[in-house]
């Protein structure tokens, strides 16, 4: 999934930057899109080099983030369109994908995307069993059974007798 610009990375030196994922693929991104990420903006302000290596964002995630940035950098789109794009962007995504996305937005400091994704994750987590959450986040239960029972006793009141889901 190499999406390096066909025209060559150096033709638009002032206006674009190359971002390399941890898989080694390079993405050509317009500078107006890149600066929506606070981290990238800082890098671009401080150095001439137009190649930025992201050591912990994979191809798939980076492509999504760049699609998001490009859309939001497009001045031709109205705010309403961008909002509906945001909704479309997170809908139907696997929880795992969202998890990588929220990590990437944290690294790149794309605040609005981070909030959108975190909201989606929180929405998915609603009405889910604790066991589901542990599984999705790959968390080991480090409570003793007694400690967990105590916490359960304290929060049980907040719940109606509604059914929690495990998938």
């Amino acid at each position: 999934m190499v999406t390096t610009d066909e025209k060559g990375p150096l033709t638009a030196k002032k206006k674009s930057v190359i971002i390399r994922s941890c898989d080694g693929d390079e993405f050509l991104v317009s500078e107006s899109a890149a600066v929506l990420s606070t981290s990238l903006k800082k890098i671009l302000e401080e150095k001439e080099d137009r190649l930025i290596h992201l050591s912990d964002i994979d191809n798939k995630t980076l492509a999504m983030v760049i699609a998001y940035l490009s859309t939001h950098a497009d001045d031709g789109l109205s705010d309403d369109l961008k909002r509906s794009f945001d909704q479309e962007f997170v809908s139907g995504k696997e929880f795992d994908v969202l998890k990588y996305l929220v990590l990437a937005t944290d690294t790149l400091q794309v605040t609005c995307l981070c909030y959108t994704v975190a909201k989606k994750m929180a929405d998915i987590m609603k009405n889910k069993l604790v066991e589901w959450v542990r599984r999705e986040f790959d968390i080991q239960n480090d409570y003793t059974p007694e400690a967990e029972a105590e916490i359960r006793r304290l929060d049980a009141w907040a719940w109606d007798d509604r059914q929690l889901e495990d998938d």
């Binding site: 800082k42 150095k47 929405d123």
Partner: protein, 488 residues
């Protein structure tokens, strides 16, 4: 140096938080004694303690800081399956936003969500947080996700692992606004246990499905020392046993309280509200109040909604008179009662209330009562201008204007008949002996404007909301209707 981008809705402010610059910044509330940190010197603080605090949202700030090299790496990586916060202690942090955020300005929450949504401020997390159990997400990400969970979910999230419990604990501690639904089976002690988690709470909204009494008030008073806004909504099944004395005491003791909204006030009996901070007061389902004293000089908005029961014995006229005399800053008055009469309205205007009901206020009335508003009296309203007035009420039958500028009357005419000018261009209007202008509007057979006989506006100060309620009640029950001739 600005590694972290604050949310646009929370502008950086409050110089008091600048005390600790750089690697140490002020927590929203003290990590040792739990008291709000603003202007607070914790007796337990040692000089080096705060060095370890790191903002929750800045693992990437570390990456930003290292941006002189080409590689940008976050503090943690899901792929690597391990989490390590590597924020160098020397990074100069930007200030965290310290100003308050309005509810729902952050997320596009649905109405259902907003019922029990928890709103928190960002705040610092301590670096030595046990990250191993936080699910391979850096605390900043986890924070962003967890803060969007409703309170009940957040309570459950503590059960996932110790790392999560620690994060939720800090989330609770940072919370400034809490909207909590209290199920019927919940006991007061459990609600108290939640409230005690959030000592910084400024705004509390409770939707209570169980019975509620003064214990709840005491619990709130104890747990939320800085509370500014309290809303208690009750369900049909729940009984509100709070008495007038108990509520009076609560209001008198809560010196920060500016807004109080309570439903199901059947058992108040009577009250003496004394507060210099209170500016908004909504009480509904009031019934047979023996004594209502408002010693609230800064009260700007009051809504008294009486139960729609025949045996209500409240003396509305006296109440309204007292309101007018003791609350000089009143702007919005909403009184809904079967007992509301012409005399009550006169009592209010006789109290020489100066107020500022404006065009938008009228617009609001029309919006709230689009179907039922049938008569509108605009009296003594100097701030109603012709510029932005918008009357859109299908069933508006009568608008009464007195001592109004010609321009205003013209505007209303335009608003009211605009669409029908082609059909009917004859609008009888005459100047009354008292100088008021009465605009008589012809009867239309339009489905939208079934009848629209009169328009009467006075110039002066205001009693608009009272009138609006009056209008609604007129249409609800015709039996207490003052006749329109009595008004004009």
């Amino acid at each position: 140096m600005q590694g972290h981008q604050p949310h646009p809705a929370t502008p950086i402010s409050d110089a008091a938080f600048l005390i600790k610059r750089g690697k140490k910044r002020g927590n929203y509330n003290c990590g040792r004694c739990g008291l709000p940190k603003k202007g607070h010197k914790c007796p337990f603080t040692t000089d080096n303690d705060d060095v370890s605090t790191t903002p929750v949202s800045t693992p990437a700030a570390a990456a930003g800081d290292s941006s002189t090299v080409t590689t940008l790496s976050s503090a943690s990586a899901v792929a690597a399956g391990k989490v390590a916060d590597t924020s160098p202690p020397s990074v100069v942090r930007p200030m965290m936003p310290a100003s308050r955020r309005r509810a729902l300005s952050f997320d596009d929450l649905s109405v259902a969500d907003s019922i029990d949504e928890l709103e928190e401020e960002r705040f610092d997390l301590e670096e030595d947080l046990d990250l191993d159990g936080s699910g391979n997400l850096p605390v900043s990400c986890l924070w962003e996700v967890l803060r969007r969970l409703p309170p009940a979910e957040l309570l459950s999230a503590a059960r996932v692992c110790r790392g999560w419990r620690e994060t939720t604990r800090k989330l609770w501690r940072a919370a400034e606004e809490l909207r909590l639904r209290v199920p019927a089976k919940a006991q007061i002690g459990f609600v108290g246990s939640v409230l005690q988690k959030c000592p910084c709470l400024l705004r509390l909204s409770l939707r209570i499905e169980s019975d509620v009494d003064a214990t709840m008030l005491a619990c709130i008073a104890f747990s939320c020392p800085n509370l500014q806004s309290l809303e208690i909504f009750t369900s049909n099944s729940s009984i509100n046993r709070i008495s007038g004395d108990e509520l009076s005491r609560f209001i008198a003791e809560k010196r920060c309280l500016t807004s109080l909204k309570m439903e199901g006030c059947y058992n108040l009996g009577g009250f003496i509200f004394s507060s210099t901070s209170l500016s908004t007061l909504w009480l509904s389902d009031l019934h047979s109040l023996s004594k209502m004293v408002f010693n609230c000089p800064n009260l700007k908005e009051i809504s008294l909604d009486f139960s729609r029961q025949e045996n209500d014995s409240t003396d509305i006229t006296t109440v309204v008179d007292a309101l007018g005399r003791s609350c000089p800053k009143l702007q919005n008055i909403h009184i809904a009662s079967f007992l509301l009469s012409h005399e009550a309205v006169l009592a209010l205007s006789a109290a020489n209330l100066r107020s500022s009901v404006s065009d938008s206020g009228i617009g609001m009335i029309c919006n709230v009562l689009p179907e039922t508003l049938s008569k509108l009296l605009l009296a003594l309203c100097p701030n109603i201008t012709s510029k932005r007035l918008l009357l859109q009420c299908g069933n508006l039958e009568s608008v009464h204007a007195s001592d109004c500028e010609d321009m205003l009357v013209k505007t209303i005419e335009t608003q009211v008949y605009g669409d029908f000018a082609a059909v009917e261009n004859h609008f009888p209007s005459k100047r009354l002996p008292d100088g008021s202008k009465r605009v008589r509007i012809p009867y239309f057979c339009s489905p939208q404007f079934l009848a629209f006989p009169k328009l009467l506006l006075h110039q002066g100060s205001s009693i608009l909301h009272a009138i609006a309620s009056l209008c609604r009640l007129w249409s609800l029950s015709k039996k207490n209707l003052p006749s329109s001739s009595a008004i004009s």
